[in-house]
Symmetry: C2
Subunit: 325 residues, 2 copies
């Protein structure tokens, strides 16, 4: 197993154990350090995840996504403040898949500067893509699980954009809010195909702008076209994150979806899908690692060279690799 090879064995104190202890007592720096461990799959990360896993599954996980320019950061800051007022411990995980090259996304920093930095009950983290496909959604799920196990009541996962990777990331949420604004024009068109499939709550932010009525009407039309396909009709909530208008309604809409999801079995379905995804990802990593250990890096390199040179096709290549004992 990965965690045994990378340090730490079952039953013994995991390497991240002391950090975990400090994180549990509320030390933000230790939480941040643990998240980095998990993001980079450092030694001890698997042991930490294994330890905390039984304590996960309690937090309300709220996804906030939508095209750039929708005011999502401000909206998330407002939502976070609102949940803080209710007494919940809150975390914001801001994920920016469109910055695959930077080590740290800027989003979190922006929010951090605005407010809440000195609030012990609010934790903010930004994540950028680590450069391998599928990795970001998995890393996000693990970070969310850690925060959940540490007693965070509400975890807000914010992503920018509406591509495939954002969809994967936001799927970790129990409730997904899709944020649009008046006047997005073509971008709304681009959303159309997918919006009904990922959104649990539709938000028209900056709704004091001209064109808000039209945007609400467009969204309602899209929803009515998809009626029958949906078990839960997403409410359309108007907000103005700048002024704070509509935030209470949004919090109520999220709570309503959460209740429905628990009652209808939808939450259970999403959790099963998340569990299956995580197991498959770990399996793939582990199986390839084992095979590589058995076959040897030199032999793998040789086969890669022959495939690149077209003297061997990739299908015969894996026959060769798998028949190596």
């Amino acid at each position: 197993m990965t965690h045994e090879l990378l340090g730490g064995s079952r039953g013994a104190e995991p390497p991240g154990g002391r950090l975990l202890e400090r994180a549990r007592s509320g030390d933000k720096r230790s939480v941040a350090r643990l998240i980095s461990m998990i993001e980079n799959d450092e030694p001890g990360a698997a042991a930490v995840m294994r330890t905390v896993y039984p304590e996960t599954g309690k937090a309300a996980i709220v996804g906030v996504t939508g095209p750039p320019g929708g005011g999502k950061s401000t909206l998330v800051a407002r939502l976070g403040a609102s949940y803080r007022e209710q007494g919940a411990r809150v975390a914001v995980v801001a994920v920016d898949p469109s910055s695959p090259f930077t080590g740290g996304a800027l989003l979190g920093d922006r929010i951090r500067m605005r407010d809440g930095f000195l609030d012990d009950g609010l934790f903010i983290r930004s994540m950028a893509s680590r450069g391998h496909s599928g990795g970001l959604a998995r890393a996000t799920l693990r970070v969310v699980n850690l925060l959940d196990a540490l007693g965070t009541g509400v975890i807000l996962v914010e992503t920018v954009g509406v591509g495939q990777e954002e969809v994967e990331v936001v799927r970790v949420a129990d409730t997904v809010c899709l944020v649009t604004v008046p006047g997005l024009g073509d971008d709304i068109q681009a959303l159309k195909a997918g919006v009904l499939e990922i959104a649990d709550v539709l938000v028209v932010n900056k709704s004091d702008r001209p064109g808000a009525d039209e945007t609400v009407r467009d969204l309602a039309t899209m929803l009515s076209l998809g009626k029958g396909r949906l078990e839960f009709t997403p409410p359309i909530v108007r907000t103005s994150a700048q002024s704070g208008e509509g935030i209470a309604e949004l919090v109520a809409a999220i709570a309503k979806h959460r209740e429905w999801a628990a009652r209808s079995g939808e939450r259970e379905r999403r959790r099963l899908a998340a569990a299956r995804g995580e197991i498959e990802a770990l399996l793939r990593e582990e199986l390839v690692r084992r095979l590589r250990g058995r076959v040897g890096a030199d032999r793998v390199d040789d086969i890669v060279k022959r495939v690149a040179a077209r003297s061997l096709d990739p299908y015969t290549a894996i026959d060769e690799l798998l028949s190596t004992r």
Copy 2:
């Protein structure tokens, strides 16, 4: 092996054999059908890929990417026409990862309507994400390999957007053109972090618009900041795809990069990386498939349920799965 299970065995006529024969004689409908087979991983797809693989590696693969609104479709149509004039057989593969939900992307259709539909030497195909992360880049590579083996001289791979998935897709190309336009403002800022890492040729399209000089200057500054890190300094080419201005210069810049890449070993490096990626992807699929066969779907489902219910952590879960004999 996948291909044996799914029909067809080594040495025997592969199920896609007759289609392949027709595709080789220039029948576009058969090419389209083969691509669908590959995209959907239908029975016979692996056998087709195995058959054609030795004949791949000859085409010039040119990637065209950049933020939406840059006029990439028109630019690609112009490029395609220019290569057709040189006598090459040309294929356009238009990939739209931001439409994960539609079966077929609209881009290709748009170009198809414009010109070239009756030209036997021009093949146009659009692809949308198939809903699993990483899958789109792999499917694109396989489609490109098929077109390459069928004697296509130039394959233009067009993607929309600049996120992680677009980067993965466009990596199949020997030469990557990054298309910007004057006045993108913040979007140029968003490119900054990544632009130097994926672009071989920088294109300022719609360069008859105000602000073109500024955009060129911004790009040049970005390049100069990255100097020393790059073995090949991407040229900046001004185009106006609408009028056709600058297309000849762009074709020349692509050819120059292609020569450099062949000479410097860069093309070889990219092909090794592509081969390694393809082998790993096939290995992962096959290993998980074998394990699932050995363990049984019921037992996998049971383990997934226990992980979702938090009575089992995913790490112990894969210990259990892997120790099943």
